[in-house]
């Protein structure tokens, strides 16, 4: 038990867990907004190349994570041709996680948006609602359960991600080292016991977060049914 406490209060482990939690929460939020926008333009807009873009959205699911990491490192690393270098910084953690979690919210919101009855929006408009009001009062409540499901999946994925991060973050302790990389480092140094201890903490955090998002989703859905 003392070993367990020592392992999870190790400053390096705490820093890694903090970074993981913070980055995953940020990624979940950005996904909620950007995923909804992308789903919107894929369903409600019409433009040239739309079906290609629609197919490309699944690429992060199909592309091996190590290739994803290398890909991002090529464009946004030291050899960048666009003069953006985020490698070995915390931005790298954010960018890689955004890449691997990209499809989740889009793919959960898209079918709901397709099914959504446009008559409701027209009714709201004829009753004098502005477009922002329509979005906030009519569209958003219908999309929210799907957005939250997507966010939960993205969050769970972000918190455990490993392959996309190993190359681009440089794994600097206290700076860019996330929990899964820290756990990997402990295993490699022949210390599976503290690796297991930190894993347990990471799992508890994941399940707590998924539980909270699930509860929020149930609340939103119930509110929707009552209204």
């Amino acid at each position: 038990m003392d070993d367990f406490r020592a392992a999870i209060t190790d400053p390096q482990a705490v820093a890694a867990l903090k970074l993981t939690l913070l980055a995953s929460a940020g990624v979940a939020l950005i996904n909620a907004v950007m995923g909804t926008i992308v789903a919107w333009i894929l369903v409600r807009d019409r433009f040239f190349g739309q079906s290609v873009i629609n197919a490309l959205v699944d690429l992060p699911f199909a592309l091996p994570t190590i290739v994803a990491g290398l890909t991002l490192l090529t464009l946004y690393g030291p050899t960048s041709r666009v003069n953006v270098n985020v490698a070995f910084s915390r931005w790298a953690v954010l960018v890689s996680l955004l890449f691997v979690t990209l499809p989740f919210v889009i793919r959960t919101v898209q079918p709901v948006l397709l099914e959504l009855d446009r008559e409701m929006e027209e009714a709201a408009a004829s009753l004098g609602a502005g477009s922002f009001q329509i979005f906030r009062r009519v569209i958003l409540p219908n999309l929210l359960p799907a957005i939250l499901s997507g966010v939960a999946l993205a969050f769970a994925r972000a918190i455990g991600e490993f392959g996309a991060l190993v190359l681009i973050t440089g794994n600097l302790p206290f700076k860019t080292e996330v929990a899964s990389v820290y756990i990997f480092g402990r295993i490699e140094s022949g210390d599976p016991r503290s690796a297991a201890a930190v894993s347990v903490v990471l799992l508890v955090i994941t399940f707590l977060a998924l539980f909270l998002i699930g509860a929020l989703r149930r609340r939103v859905t119930r509110h929707d049914a009552a209204a």
Partner: protein, 262 residues
């Protein structure tokens, strides 16, 4: 005004996808063939690269059929049968999606490694191919189940009952009635499983021990080449994996449940 807003949304959405998705992937292709097709070809035909490809294909060839059969059986059990602990099974099937691959690898290491509960099997599991196959099966487990379950729910049991009253046995009903109804969902699940099996990295890098020319898969080979500053080799192997990913993508677009496309 609404026109302006539409263009603004389109601009924001497409820029996001462009910066995060299209530009990086395009560049990897460019980088791999920068020094000509020959250099890339040489890099993916070194003995280590060829062996890595072989390891990856062997793993996928075992993991994908195993998970397909398990997935169909498990989905039928979840939807069509009642048994104690059913809800638990339903939750556990999704577990690999919420677990970090590194933790999965660690679990196998602790279970089969020195001093583990299943230590002392007649063959090596950890730092050998069986462990890599097991880890891959674990992480790619949920996909077929998750795709087949909703379709089974939706088609209902009427046709299966009709087949049964006409004297069809269990296997015949499955082969003639149930399977044709779920085959597209199975195909989509198989595509997702294959993508995950070919691309697995985290769990495998823990259980394999990364012995070059022995337990190095193609994804591990990419990292090892990169860390040895052989960028052409790393990019070439990446492009090979990216091509497999794009083939997967095409298959996904073909098999995707129709209501999601427009």
């Amino acid at each position: 005004m609404t026109r302006l807003r539409r263009y603004a949304l389109r601009f924001v959405g497409l820029s996001y996808l462009g910066v995060l998705l299209v530009a990086p992937v395009g560049l990897v292709f460019y980088r791999a063939f920068e020094n000509g097709f020959g250099a890339a070809w040489d890099a993916v035909t070194t003995p280590a690269a060829k062996h890595a490809l072989l390891v990856t294909l062997i793993i996928a060839a075992i993991a994908v059929p195993a998970n397909t059969i398990f997935g169909i059986v498990c989905a039928i059990a979840i939807v069509r049968h009642r048994f104690p602990g059913k809800n638990l099974v339903n939750v556990i099937v999704d577990l690999p999606l919420a677990l970090s691959p590194v933790i999965v690898g660690l679990a196998f290491l602790l279970l089969f490694g020195t001093g583990g509960w299943l230590d002392g099997l007649p063959f090596d599991v950890v730092f050998a191919l069986p462990g890599m196959v097991l880890a891959t099966i674990f992480v790619s487990l949920p996909f077929v189940v998750r795709e087949v379950v909703p379709v089974l729910r939706e088609i209902g049991t009427e046709q299966e009952q009709a087949a049964a009253t006409l004297g069809a046995g269990g296997w015949q009903t499955f082969r003639r009635v149930t399977f044709p109804a779920i085959r597209w969902a199975v195909a989509y699940g198989v595509v997702l499983t294959t993508a995950r099996a070919l691309g697995e990295f985290g769990a495998i890098s823990v259980v394999s021990g990364r012995l070059i020319g022995k337990t190095e898969s193609l994804t591990l080979h990419v990292e090892e080449r990169y860390q040895s500053f052989d960028y052409v080799g790393a990019y070439a192997a990446s492009v090979l994996l990216a091509m497999l990913a794009i083939a997967t993508l095409v298959a996904m677009t073909v098999f995707r449940p129709k209501e999601e496309t427009r």
